[in-house]
């Protein structure tokens, strides 16, 4: 399905409505700032000091405690959403699906007046869309996303994060969409993002063929990214061992994300993209 297809865009519109309903009308709602400011959501009390807004003094507290306390509200601020879409060749089979997910998230973000930047990620970063703001740019973003190709020989998350942080100093929400089959490891890159004060959210897209081994007998396995070839005899034991290795790898990703407070959603192309987005929204948004 084309990303610019009207039917697809109608599904995105539905998701936007759902996002407003679930998240209070804007995606900002779930991007809580640690700074306190003029918001509508109560956050904490603080002693009145000179220069504070009189309107924030809680007179009921003053009546009980005989002390001037002011109410603090959460500061709601606009967020830049950086999307790192794995565009390596290992994603070829699920690249369209990953694009649909990215398109949905970008569409919702643009409608929430967030700034969106899309990058294709392999051994290098490739710009899909430059920082874009406003719902009027949605079609343009979808068009550019649709045209994004796969490239590169390997996925180097750490290198990609380095470049991202060099290019964008402003912290924001980084969404990494990948199968996370990264021989050079994913942990360093994710840690680096957090070190740069980014909020991180991972969407793992794996095909069932990635998780299951239907190969038997003598085969020449070829790495789709590096092109390396190895002749192997796959028995039932080897097939089970591979499946276990994939499960271990995914469990390692899950454990790492859980320990670092990184949100993670794992899905396969067999699950409709809007179902995945709905689940994310119903869980409270892109939070861990």
């Amino acid at each position: 399905m084309l990303l610019t297809d009207p039917a697809f865009i109608r599904r995105l519109e539905t998701l936007t409505l759902l996002a407003r309903k679930v998240l209070g009308g804007t995606l900002q709602a779930d991007r809580k700032s640690t700074r306190k400011g003029a918001g509508i959501t109560f956050a904490d009390y603080s002693e009145y000091s000179l220069g504070d807004d009189y309107r924030a003094i809680d007179w009921r507290v003053y009546a009980r405690l005989d002390a001037l306390m002011i109410k603090l509200f959460e500061l709601e601020e606009d967020v830049t959403i950086y999307v790192l879409l794995d565009a390596s060749r290992s994603m070829a089979a699920k690249f369209d699906y990953a694009k649909q997910l990215v398109a949905a998230l970008a569409y919702i973000a643009l409608h929430s007046m967030d700034k969106v930047v899309l990058y294709g990620m392999a051994e290098d970063l490739s710009v899909i869309t430059r920082p874009t703001l406003g719902r009027g740019k949605a079609l343009s973003v979808l068009t550019q996303l649709e045209a994004a190709p796969t490239f590169g020989a390997d996925t180097d998350l750490t290198g990609a994060v380095h470049r991202l942080c060099q290019w964008h100093k402003k912290r924001g929400l980084v969404i990494a969409v990948s199968d996370f089959f990264m021989p050079q490891d994913f942990e360093e890159g994710l840690k680096l993002l957090q070190w740069h004060h980014h909020d991180v959210f991972c969407i793992q897209v794996q095909d069932t063929e990635d998780q299951r081994c239907d190969l038997k007998g003598d085969v020449e396995l070829q790495c789709v990214e590096s092109g390396r070839v190895r002749k192997m005899t796959i028995t039932q034991a080897e097939a089970r061992a591979y499946e276990q290795a994939v499960r271990n790898w995914n469990e390692r990703l899950r454990s790492f994300c859980a320990s670092r407070g990184i949100g993670l959603v794992s899905t396969t192309p067999q699950v409709p993209f809007d179902t995945v987005i709905q689940n994310i929204l119903r869980r409270g948004g892109l939070v861990s």
Partner: protein, 590 residues
Amino acid sequence: MSFLHPGYFLTFLALAPLIAMYLLKVRPTRKPVTAFFLWEAVFDQKKNTALFNRLRDLWSLLLLALALTAVTLALTEPQITGDRQKDLLLIIDHSASMNALDHGQSRLDAARKAATDILRGLNGNRQAAVASVGMDLRYESHFTTSPRTLLDAVRRIEPSDEPFRSEALANAVPPDMTIDQYRIILISDGCCAHEALDERIELIKIGTKQDNIGFVACDLQRLSDQPGQAGLYFRLASSFDRLVDTDVTLTWGPNDAIAKVIPVTVQPGINASEVYTLEAGEPGPWTATLGIDDALALDNRALMILQPQRPIRVQVVCDEPFFLTHSILAFARTSGDLTCVTDGADVVLASGVIPDAQQAVIFNPPEGTSWCGRFGSEVDRVRAQVQVQDHPVLRHCDIETLPFIGARQVELPEGSLVIAKNTDEVPLIYRVRDNERSALVINMDPQDSEFYYSAWFPVLVYNAAGTLMGRQQPLASAVPTGQSVEIPTLDLDNETTEVRINDQREAFRIHGQIYGPIRRIGFHSLNNRTGQWSFGADLFSPQETLLNNPETQTTANAIRRGRPMSVLLAGLAIALLLAEAILYHLRKVG
């Protein structure tokens, strides 16, 4: 080793395309994978099987090459050097000694196995026939290439009670047969007269030295001078290398009542005969049994019949009966074979008259015509000549010295048998039959010839009565298998006798006076118009009993046995292909 079809070695040329096709077949398909680094981790843990996996293609190729080699060799049909590729006549000895147990199986079973091995070795390329031999040669199958027919023929060969007769093999060797025509293979234990075997017959000797003792002769007769008593005679043979002490148990009657136990010491070889007297010599079936468990059971028993006293009843019809009557009484008093009666006679002894009797001995027939001839005037000069040599009527008689005074010219009825005649062709002693009647005519006046005073007179009367009643020979108590028996008959040629063996329900009929050769051991019961007669049939063959004949040795040249090598090679090829298929399967499905 030689090869029947060496041209098939060209099949090796198929090795090159086979290898090429194999290499194409085993080339693995290329599969792109996303998590290559995970696969590498999996296989790095399995490095211990890497060597076998690397060599697996080589193993498979080696197995295929070996399979092709086996198929090629099978096609060329390798042969054992020395086996002359000729048609075979396979003769299996099934005589009595082949019943002997040899290491738990009978020699016949061993012979059948050897024959089966040889027939399997033919591989359908050569013709063969199967025959069995005992007393005589019997073809079990014609010449054929069909293995099933030949193997069935071998299976059909049953053990027998017959002795081996080397002369029977003469029929197997045509007089004009050359050694190039076909091979004659005799499979036997060699218990035969080896010098009688034709040199063109190749012997495969089976069996090993076995210890055995058996009866080789036995008889039981009434003692004429001691009424009620009987004499037992037997002879044993032993293949033991030492003296063996055992017992001979003599039992009588259908219940095998023990009559006598005789301890015997049996020497190696054929022993001297032994004679014993039985106080109560009851007529009927008797069995002598050796108390030993040895290789051959057939000769451990001797079956005998003590014949009952059955005198021929003779009535004398004559004007002067004195001499004729006393000639009968002479035998009535001694052997008891004849008795003189005045009524209900079996044989009428007449002189000068033609009696109206079924069986008659007629001296001096009167002039005129009767059913036994037309008699004319007397003959002047008589000189007797024997016409039928060794006729039982003339036994122990020197008939040519008799004067035959009173002999008449006679015109014989058709079918008469002239036993003695005058030089001018006048019959002097002849036998004539008319339907149920039979007469022996002695064409002389015994009184004028003074024949009554001759020593041959009672002998001739005895012989004549016995001949008319079909008792030329007394029936023996025990007869060896392979021999024939003269049956008491009234009509030599047309008598039908019902035979029953060991009280079997099913009887069979024979015609004529000769029953035999006898093939089965047991009590044989004969029934015809003369009455019921019995005798025992036994092995009584030293060559069968002695079992081990060191003079016969295997003379057969090399002969292929067992399944052909090509079949084994084909089986090997199948096994190799199966192994390769398993390896290929493992490669394809892990």
